[in-house]
């Protein structure tokens, strides 16, 4: 079985002594990220300018640009940090499951739980995903690829354990599972659905998708 191995332990190298300058730089970065997170949540990606972010962080736009090349890099950094927080939990949820439905509901449930708590930021990130540059698209695909492997691994295990037919198209079924998972965020955004409601719907949708694939 091929699990994506991620090293979630912190690095064991001897701690690097940060100079005062480096510490100050790091603090600046963190202040910018915090300000950006709140503004992106409030106004969306387009609505928040570097100038606004600098103002909220209490620094000059020049100081922001010293840490980040542009707004899209800043935004991606926030999303990647969030992604790293939930990815380890998703692996755990998937591994602890006994059936394919449990595995998928487990790993998507982690994501729903995390994102529904900060829906405005999720909305901004979905909005951006439809119109971003090709370079930004390539970078973002790296994160999504790991998630796809995780879904595909859960399906492969289900095949190995005789829950699913041997001849199913794993990639296609993984994609379809992903599609319903993401599409359901619309219910959270427009209809105020809770995590439980999203999971109940997802569970029904997965039954539709896997009905013909069960062994």
């Amino acid at each position: 079985m091929s699990f994506v191995s991620v090293n979630i332990e912190s690095a064991t190298d001897s701690p690097v002594k940060l100079t005062r300058r480096a510490l100050a730089k790091q603090r600046t970065r963190e202040r910018v990220l915090a300000a950006a997170r709140s503004l992106f949540s409030e106004r969306g990606y387009e609505g928040a300018t570097i100038r606004d972010i600098a103002q909220v962080a209490g620094m000059s736009t020049g100081a922001v640009f010293a840490s980040f090349a542009d707004k899209s890099e800043l935004f991606e950094e926030i999303l990647t940090a969030d992604y790293e927080v939930i990815y380890a939990q998703m692996i755990q949820a998937s591994r602890n499951a006994k059936t394919v439905d449990e595995a998928l509901l487990g790993l998507f449930g982690v994501a729903y739980g995390f994102h529904v708590e900060q829906l405005p930021l999720l909305r901004a990130s979905i909005a951006v995903s439809w119109t971003r540059s090709e370079a930004a698209e390539r970078r973002a695909r790296g994160d999504i690829k790991h998630l796809f492997h995780l879904i595909a691994d859960a399906l492969q295990r289900a095949i190995d354990q005789g829950q699913l037919k041997k001849d199913i198209d794993v990639k296609l079924l993984a994609e379809m599972s992903w599609d319903v998972y993401v599409a359901n965020y619309r219910r959270a955004v427009y209809d105020g659905w809770s995590v439980e409601a999203l999971l109940a719907r997802l569970s029904d949708q997965l039954k539709v998708i896997f009905a013909g694939a069960r062994a």
């Binding site: 119109t131 994609e175 379809m176 599609d179 599409a183 998708i209």
Partner: protein
Amino acid sequence: MGVRDDQKAATRERVLEAARDLFNEVGYDETTIRAIAERAGVSVGSVFTTFASKAEVLSHVMNHRLAELYAELDRVAPLLRGGTADKLCSIFAIHYEFETRRVKLFLAHIAASYNPNNDPGVTPYGRNPRLSQMLLDVLEEGVRKGEVRGDLDLRLIIDTLKASYAWNYRMAAAAGGNMPAAEMSAVMDKQIAVIAEGWKPR
């Protein structure tokens, strides 16, 4: 309608057409209300007396396009042939063909519907009752003909199909808008086949 109303309607029409073309050619974020007014040959002020924001303009552009799409669906609906899955494939293929004519406009529409600061005048993407009804008609016919099991929640099947339909546009987004409709339809055909495998009577 008085002359004034006629004029107002004509301005509206011109603004929507200019906005549609600019959103598709230049991009939604890159297009300003000023640029729309310029292309439409009207004042910036008159755009704002008709629409509250750029997001509302986009929303109206998209509603406007539905008349064209529905005309196409009406024309094709009686001609649909084959089994239940084949008919669904055709319906989605027509949608991909239609939306890829102005794919950047369509992607902007999806993106804008997730924007956190949407105005109340904006209709969210994905509320297309006509598409859902067409799919339901086909599935119900499938049940009558014994191709689809009778004990299934057809609306749930539609919900699942529409999720795949919508997120296949990610292919177009990832390709910077250069994605032939036929390639998206081909993927959709496979997805429909997966679900069809599950609705077969056993």
